[in-house]
């Protein structure tokens, strides 16, 4: 599997945010996107996911096979928002995404154990702290299988131990032949990752 972006350009409200961004990531590789605020990191990730139209260029995935023909069907997108309902319990939230996204991965209990939230699954999501919410949201990446992880500031709000645990999860995903694209300001602890520095606007 290979994720390719060619000559991508991004716009926000008619203003060009970036242009001529290109990369190709093979399976088992990670791309860390860095850059100052407003450089277009989140916009880039949303364009790669297909949630925003690209102003120029295209994104494609090669070798995804039957199960993952397009980027949208092959990708997990972890944005700033956690995509969890505050009135439902953590288990109900994860169970829903596991059933809805198909290609089931870990069971809900296993995923919660992996992010060290075992035993908190019965609580409403709204009762969790910021870091715990983020961890529950990371557990969402594990309950259904997707080869490409698009992560936007994934470690925001996490403590040191959780950051290291998450780095371990990402390394495990890469060893399984996955692809990680992460936009971040903080080092994620991935050795040998490709780097894309998004600079000043034009």
């Amino acid at each position: 599997m290979r994720l390719i972006a060619e000559n991508l350009g991004g716009e926000r409200g008619g203003e060009t945010v970036f242009s001529n961004i290109g990369f190709a990531i093979d399976k088992g590789e990670a791309l860390i996107v860095t850059g100052p605020n407003g450089a277009g990191k989140s916009t880039l990730l949303r364009i790669v996911a297909g949630l925003l139209p690209a102003a120029a260029g295209k994104v494609l995935v090669e070798g995804g096979g039957e199960a993952f023909p397009t980027v949208a069907s092959a990708a997990h997108y972890l944005g700033h928002l956690n995509a969890m309902k505050t009135v439902l319990s953590v288990e109900e939230n994860l169970g829903f995404w596991r059933a809805f996204q198909s290609e089931p991965g870990l069971s809900v209990e296993e995923a919660l154990e992996t992010v060290a939230l075992g035993g908190l699954g019965h609580l409403p999501f709204g009762y969790l702290s910021t870091g715990q919410r983020r961890r529950a949201s990371i557990a969402k990446l594990l309950v259904s299988r997707r080869p490409i992880w698009l992560l936007d500031e994934p470690t925001a709000g996490l403590d040191k131990a959780s950051e290291e645990r998450f780095a371990g999860l990402m390394r495990g995903h890469l060893d399984d032949g996955g692809i990680v694209v992460a936009a971040t300001h903080l080092p994620l602890g991935l050795e040998g990752a490709k780097a894309l520095r998004m600079g000043q606007v034009l």
């Binding site: 397009t70 069907s73 944005g79 928002l81 995509a83 505050t86 996204q101």
Partner: protein, 221 residues
């Protein structure tokens, strides 16, 4: 899809879901009418079906703005759209509409016979009105979904959705009310307007979700 349906039903009955707001609004309108119109029982029973239909229509429009906005605010909408390659987005929208209808509009239909008594309607008229509401209100939800999808990014989109959607719901109202009258007033037919009402619902069950899916796909930011 079933999991999405169950989740939305759960959300509507948990705290803050707002499933009962429509019913309470419906109740408030129907209870106020006899005070405004006066104690003329013949008049009340004559306008009964129309009043029930108008109140149900307005109550249906009340909760529509939250249909997609709640999902947009917590980021779920992005993932629903992202999974559009796996499940057709229009089907996701249709499922959300059905869950919304079951959670917020079905209680109106159940309450309608009781409120029909307030309007001094005869049993046959009450039955016919409840039946037409059961068949016709899904159409309002399907049109409303398209309006809700267009206004999803607006923070106070509720009124805008009502204004957008109201003209499109007029045919549903006309055939719903004329079928209800057809059941009690002899020369007027019941079956023909009722079948057109059912056809409207089926037609909008296809067109509404397709339009909403298109608006959602182009409305993400």
């Amino acid at each position: 899809m079933w999991s999405l349906f169950l989740r939305d039903i759960r959300l509507s009955i948990r705290a803050g879901g707002g499933a009962l707001i429509g019913v309470i609004f419906f109740l408030a309108v129907i209870v106020t009418i006899p005070f405004g119109v006066g104690p003329d029982l013949n008049l009340l029973s004559r306008i009964g079906p129309a009043i029930l239909w108008i109140a149900a229509l307005l109550a249906c429009l009340l909760g529509l703005d939250r249909l997609f906005q709640a999902d947009r605010e917590d980021g779920s909408l992005d993932l629903l759209v992202l999974n559009g390659d796996r499940h057709m987005l229009a089907l996701t929208v249709l499922t959300k509409c059905l869950a919304h209808w079951t959670g917020s509009v079905l209680p109106l239909v159940v309450a309608a016979p009781l409120l029909g008594l307030f309007m001094n309607m005869e049993p046959l008229g009450i039955g016919a009105t409840a039946l037409t509401l059961l068949v016709g209100t899904p159409a309002i939800t399907f049109i409303g979904a398209a309006g809700a999808a267009v206004a999803v990014a607006l923070p106070r989109g509720g009124l805008l959705i009502s204004v957008l959607v109201l003209p499109l719901t007029i045919p549903v109202l006309i055939f719903g009310v004329s079928a209800s009258y057809g059941a009690i007033a002899d020369p007027a037919p019941f079956l023909q307007p009722f079948l057109i009402l059912a056809a409207l619902t089926l037609f909008l069950a296809v067109v509404g979700p397709l339009a909403a899916a298109l608006a959602l796909r182009h409305g993400t930011d």
